[in-house]
């Protein structure tokens, strides 16, 4: 026989507003939206799209038609195919970059919170100075020094995200340093490093979960922005920012599709990711676990 343990409402739940907790529709919708996006992006090579890289000089800038559903660009490449193939390019660059930034930031944040007074002076100042520097300018400078390419882009995304997670994890970890359960763990003889890794970090990571998709949003925009000014993903790789730039000069002639279609993809992805972020935050808040 299993007894169900009564769930006690936590202090952060809706008991103060008197509202019944609603099911989290925004979280569900954003997960479905992103799921479809990622699935289409991953399966793009197998879904019978035209070759995203093959130029067709007899069909340059042709408007949406049955043959090319969303038209072609100045080299006659299929816009739909390129926009869909770009999903994995943009998302994976952002994901890897933010992941690196979040891991480095979390480690540095924990170091700031637990590494003593000097670490807590130096690391937050470092974070602030990185944040004070314009991101696009920093990206251009790094690419000028280290050269373009995927590696540089990931490094840029990682570096601009480190301060966010450093400050976030530090702020969440500071009160946990003296929380009852970390003191209890110390009192039970749990070694210091294990307390940080098992007791403090998992609890300090909770706000990170809702921040993560939001950082991906900003990062995709940064990637597209850098690509737009020509220092990001290099042609002919399909990427939204590059595509928008390539089509931009034809818009005045009424040829809208080469820019607008990848632009819309960028907007849709941004909406899906930021909805995921706020859905996660609401869910975590409801459970009273978000610090």
């Amino acid at each position: 026989m299993r007894m169900t343990i009564p769930r006690f409402p936590s202090a952060r739940s809706d008991q103060f507003t008197g509202k019944q907790p609603r099911s989290n529709g925004i979280l569900l919708r954003s997960v479905i939206g992103l799921g479809v996006l990622v699935a289409v992006g991953l399966l793009a090579p197998f879904l019978g799209f035209a070759d995203p890289l093959a130029p067709n000089l007899s069909a340059q800038l042709s408007p949406p038609s049955f043959e090319h559903l969303l038209g072609t660009d100045s080299l006659g490449r299929d816009i739909l195919s390129r926009s869909v193939h770009a999903i994995t390019v943009d998302l994976s660059l952002a994901l890897i970059g933010v992941l690196c930034g979040a891991i480095i930031g979390a480690v540095l944040g924990a170091t700031a919170a637990f590494g003593g007074r000097s670490a807590d002076m130096v690391l937050p100042r470092f974070a602030e100075s990185v944040q004070a520097f314009p991101q696009v300018l920093f990206g251009m400078a790094l690419i000028a020094i280290a050269g373009g390419g995927v590696g540089s882009l990931i490094a840029i995304i990682a570096v601009v995200n480190v301060p966010v997670y450093l400050m976030m994890v530090r702020a969440a970890a500071l009160p946990l340093r003296t929380a009852d359960f970390t003191e209890a763990a110390r009192g039970a003889g749990v070694p210091r490093l294990k307390i940080v890794v098992k007791y403090v970090l998992p609890n300090a990571m909770i706000p990170v979960f809702s921040q993560f998709p939001l950082s991906c949003t900003y990062s995709i925009q940064l990637i597209a922005g850098l690509s737009f000014i020509g220092v990001g993903v290099e042609p002919p790789t399909p990427e939204w920012g590059t595509m928008i730039k390539e089509g931009a000069s034809y818009i005045v002639n009424g040829v809208w599709w080469p820019s607008v279609v990848p632009g819309l993809m960028l907007v849709l992805t941004t909406i899906a990711l930021s909805s995921l972020s706020s859905g996660l935050r609401r869910t975590l808040l409801k459970q009273g676990t978000l610090g």
Partner: protein
């Protein structure tokens, strides 16, 4: 009599620049249950936390020794202390629900603590050991509790889990800092009963911190009464409860006395406030509030006057 399991001598602890614990000493012998009572701010909790050096960041031990197992815990470094904490001296805390890691299931947390002290000898073995210590606390459905997260437990269940964890290593001494604060009366009695039973069954000594002299009297062999950072009276529980010698103990017992008078709005209180510990105290710290104080009390520190059964009272007028 065998060597004490804990011997505190001349302990002085400060928070910021205020000296909160002002030179106290007491011994706890194997299997003995000692209670420290006192009002808020008397330094009783700080005393308990000083034993394992689990002090707030702005607190420090100024002077004194805490002898345990032939070593002075005050001088040990953190890693040496880790081998004492939870091993031969365990501690449980006021707010049981907050003393559990919110992101780990109960079974996992209990297993973790057992693994720390046994050096990890097989996962299945540790899990069955965890189950065993939880069964020992009389929790109704141990399987469900092991799979629950801390926020799913009631305060009483959480405190039972903490007691199980603290005693899993069969320590020589358990320090319990107001273990029943925040629990309702009937659960308080259950938890205290459990505490006493479990401590007795493994032969551990107990240091119980409480503001409730009746609770301490029920469970402990000896009582130490703290006031403004000093132990003003220490002795066998029966002696303290039935024949208190220090005026503060007498006043405390009067306040705790008859709960029916509360309803008539005539609850006895001790007038005045504890002294300001940021300034040095000349004479007796209780003098300003004491009914029988004289000029001598305000100018000269009171002597420790021995009584029957190794008791001491710190007063000019006993």
């Amino acid at each position: 009599m065998s060597a004490p399991v804990l011997s505190v001598g001349g302990l002085r602890v400060r928070i910021g620049d205020r000296e909160i614990v002002r030179g106290i000493q007491f011994d706890i012998h194997p299997g003995e249950r000692v209670g420290i009572v006192g009002e808020s701010g008397s330094g009783k909790s700080l005393t308990a936390h000083s034993v394992l050096r689990l002090l707030p960041r702005n607190a420090a031990i100024i002077d004194g020794s805490v002898m345990h197992g032939g070593r002075d815990l005050v001088t040990l470094n953190e890693s040496e202390l880790s081998s004492v904490r939870g091993q031969s001296v365990s501690m449980i805390f006021q707010n049981a629900a907050a003393a559990l890691n919110p992101v780990l299931k109960i079974g996992r947390q209990v297993s973790d603590v057992i693994a720390v002290h046994t050096g990890g000898e097989g996962k299945a073995h540790i899990e069955s050991a965890a189950r065993e210590v939880l069964v020992g606390t009389g929790l109704a459905d141990v399987d469900a509790v092991m799979n629950a997260y801390p926020h799913q437990l009631s305060g009483g269940m959480a405190q039972r889990v903490l007691i199980a964890m603290a005693l899993s290593s069969k320590p020589e001494l358990l320090i319990a800092d107001e273990p029943t604060t925040g629990l309702d009366m009937s659960i308080q009695a259950q938890v205290l009963g459990l505490l006493r039973k479990r401590v007795e069954s493994i032969g551990a000594a107990l240091l119980l911190i409480s503001h409730d002299i009746a609770v301490v009297g029920e469970i402990c062999d000896r009582i130490a009464v703290m006031y403004a950072g000093r132990i003003v009276e220490i002795g066998a529980s029966r002696d303290i409860l039935q024949a208190p010698r220090h005026p503060y103990t007498k006043a405390l017992l009067q306040c705790a006395g008859d709960s029916s008078v509360v309803l008539r709005g005539a609850m006895p209180t001790i007038d005045g406030e504890p002294p300001d510990l940021s300034r040095p105290i000349v004479g007796c710290s209780f003098a300003d509030r004491c009914a029988i104080s004289t000029e001598l009390c305000r100018t000269t520190p009171p002597p420790q006057v021995p009584g029957t059964n190794d008791s001491l009272a710190e007063c000019h007028h006993v």
